[in-house]
C-alpha cells in the first residue's frame, strides 16, 4: 500500500523529510533514509531547501525508490520555468515516482546564491494545474504527449498565516486545481491548530501536520521571531530552556504533539532539520 492508498484507507500516516547534501557524498543522507525504513509511510525529499544550491530532489527520489522506500518529490517554482517543470515531471514519471508536493518555494535571496534571478514563472496553484494537465495526456498548452504520467499530488498550507483566511482561500484553490493532500508548516500550538482544522474540515482533504524538532530554547525564539506562521508557546520554550537533556526533552515535546494531533488530522510530517537520526526515537515515544 502506498501513501495514497493509506490515506484513502484512513490510516494515520507519517512522513519525514531528508535533505540532499551540498556535494556528491550521499552516505549520510542514505543512512538517514535507512533509519526511516518501515517507520514512515513516505519520505519527502526537499528541493534546494532554504534556496541553497545542492543535489536535486529528483535523483535522490530515484535512489530511494530503487531501495524500496517511497519518496515524495518536492517541487518548487523558484528555479525552473514551465518548460523545465513539465520536463522534470515527465522525468519523475518515467523513474516511477508517484508522489509530488507542489510548492511556491523560498525566495532566492534567503539562500547562498542571493544574486540568482528568481523564476516563479508559475505559482504553486498553476503547478498543480500543470500536473493535472500532463495526466490528461497533453502538455500545459494542449500538445499531445505520447504516454501520460500519473501522480499523487500534494500541496502545502501555513495554518499560522496572516491572515489565515487568505491561506485557506488559497488552499481551496489548490484543491480545486487537483491537490489531494496537504502538509503544513510546523505546528506547536495544538489549540490554534484545532481551530484551523475545524475551519478546513469541510474541504475533506487529508492534512499532515508539520513537526519540527526543537533543538534549543534559542531556536524556538528565533523561529517565533523570524519564521512566518510558526509560534512556539512559552511553556515549551521554558521546558527546553531548563532541560537537563535537550535531546530527550525535544523528543518528548515532539512525541506529545504527535499524540495530541492524532485526533485532529490525518497524519504528521516530520521536519528534523539536521536531527534526522532522532526521528525513530520520536516515533517510539509517540508509539507510532
Amino acid at each position: 500500500m502506498g501513501l495514497q492508498e493509506k490515506l484513502a484507507a484512513g490510516k494515520f500516516v507519517v512522513t519525514s523529510e531528508i535533505g540532499p547534501p551540498k556535494g556528491t557524498d550521499i552516505t549520510e543522507m542514505m543512512e538517514d533514509a535507512q533509519l526511516l525504513r518501515g517507520r514512515v509511510d513516505a519520505i519527502n525529499v526537499t528541493d534546494l531547501q532554504s534556496s541553497v544550491m545542492r543535489l536535486g530532489s529528483l535523483p535522490v527520489c530515484h535512489l530511494l525508490q530503487e531501495r524500496g522506500l517511497e519518496p515524495i518529490l518536492q517541487m518548487t517554482c523558484r528555479d525552473r520555468n514551465r518548460l523545465a517543470l513539465q520536463s522534470d515531471l515527465l522525468g519523475a514519471a518515467v523513474l516511477g515516482i508517484r508522489n509530488v508536493l507542489a510548492l511556491t518555494g523560498d525566495y532566492a535571496s534567503l539562500g547562498d546564491h542571493p544574486q540568482a534571478k528568481p523564476v516563479f514563472d508559475v505559482d504553486a496553484v498553476n503547478l498543480i494545474q500543470i500536473i493535472k494537465k500532463l495526466e490528461s495526456g497533453t502538455d500545459m498548452v494542449g500538445n499531445p504527449l505520447s504516454g501520460a504520467p500519473k501522480f499523487f499530488v500534494g500541496a502545502v498550507v501555513n495554518p499560522g498565516g496572516n491572515p489565515v483566511e487568505a491561506q485557506i482561500l488559497k488552499m481551496e484553490k489548490k484543491i480545486q486545481a487537483g491537490a489531494s493532500f496537504f502538509q503544513t508548516q510546523a505546528v506547536f500550538d495544538l489549540s490554534a491548530f484545532e481551530k484551523f482544522m475545524k475551519r478546513v474540515a469541510p474541504l475533506k482533504v487529508p492534512v499532515l501536520a508539520g513537526i519540527i524538532l526543537l533543538k534549543s530554547a534559542g531556536m524556538a525564539r528565533f523561529m517565533n521571531k523570524n519564521v512566518a506562521g510558526v509560534f512556539v508557546p512559552e511553556p515549551l520554550i521554558e521546558k527546553m530552556a531548563t532541560a537537563p537533556d535537550r535531546v530527550k526533552t525535544s523528543v518528548e515535546i515532539a512525541a506529545e504533539l504527535i499524540r495530541g494531533l492524532r485526533g485532529l488530522c490525518q497524519g504528521v510530517h516530520l521536519m528534523p532539520i539536521g536531527w534526522e537520526k532522532k526521528v525513530p526515537a520520536v516515533l517510539d515515544a509517540a508509539r507510532l
Binding site: 511556491t104 514563472d121 487568505a166 480545486q176 512566518a228
Partner: protein
Amino acid sequence: MLLSQQKPLEEILRSLEGEEKIFILGCSGCAEASGTGGKPQVLEMKEKLQKAGKRVTGYSVVDFLCQKALIQSRLRAKAREVQAADSILVMTCGVGVQAVAAVSPKLTHPACNTVSLGGSRGEWQGAERCAECGDCVLDATGGICPLTACSKFLLNGPCGGTTKEGKCEVDSEMDCGWRLIYERLEKLGKLDRLRKLREPKDHSKALPPKGLRLSARWALDRVQ
C-alpha cells in the same frame, strides 16, 4: 511616456460581470496619447457599455491618473456619480489603475494592458508599480498589482511567508502584497474575486509590438 493598449471589449465586459452601474475614468496624459483612455475613447466606451446593458453613472477625464491628489479631487467633484456606481472602469496604464484604486471607495477595473512604461513610473510618481506585463490582472486583485507588490509574482494568493506583522518574509520593510490585496477586497466586500483560479501568465504578451519597440514616441506621433 507610458504606452497602453485597450483590452478587448469582451474581456472588459467579462470583468464587469455582476456590476451593473459603472463610472468611467479616462486619462488625458499618456493614455490619451496612446489612444486608449482619452476623452474620445471614454465616450466610445460609454456607448459600448450602454449597448451591453450597463448603466454608466458618469465619467471623468483626469489630466494624470497617476496623480492621486488630482484623482481624489476629481472623484470628489463627481461624488454622486461615483457613489451610485458599483465599480470604476479605469482607462489607463497599470500605474494609473493602482493609483485610482488606492484612493477610491470602489472596486477598480483596468480597461487597458500596459505595454511599456518607457522607463517611467508615471508622470506623477507614487508607490504604485506596473510590471508592463501586457495582460493586466488588476481586475482580480482590487487594483493592487501582484506582479510588483508580491516578491514572487504570485497570481493565486499568498505564499506561506507573510510575517506576524503582515510583512514579506523576503524584506521586513515590505508589506505582503497579498495581505494588502486580501484586506482591500475584504473591505470592498469583493473577496469572491479571489476564488477564481488564475491560469499561468502568458509572458509573451509582455513583449511590446515591434512598432512600439522601434519608436518610444509612437503614440504621441499618432495624435499629432
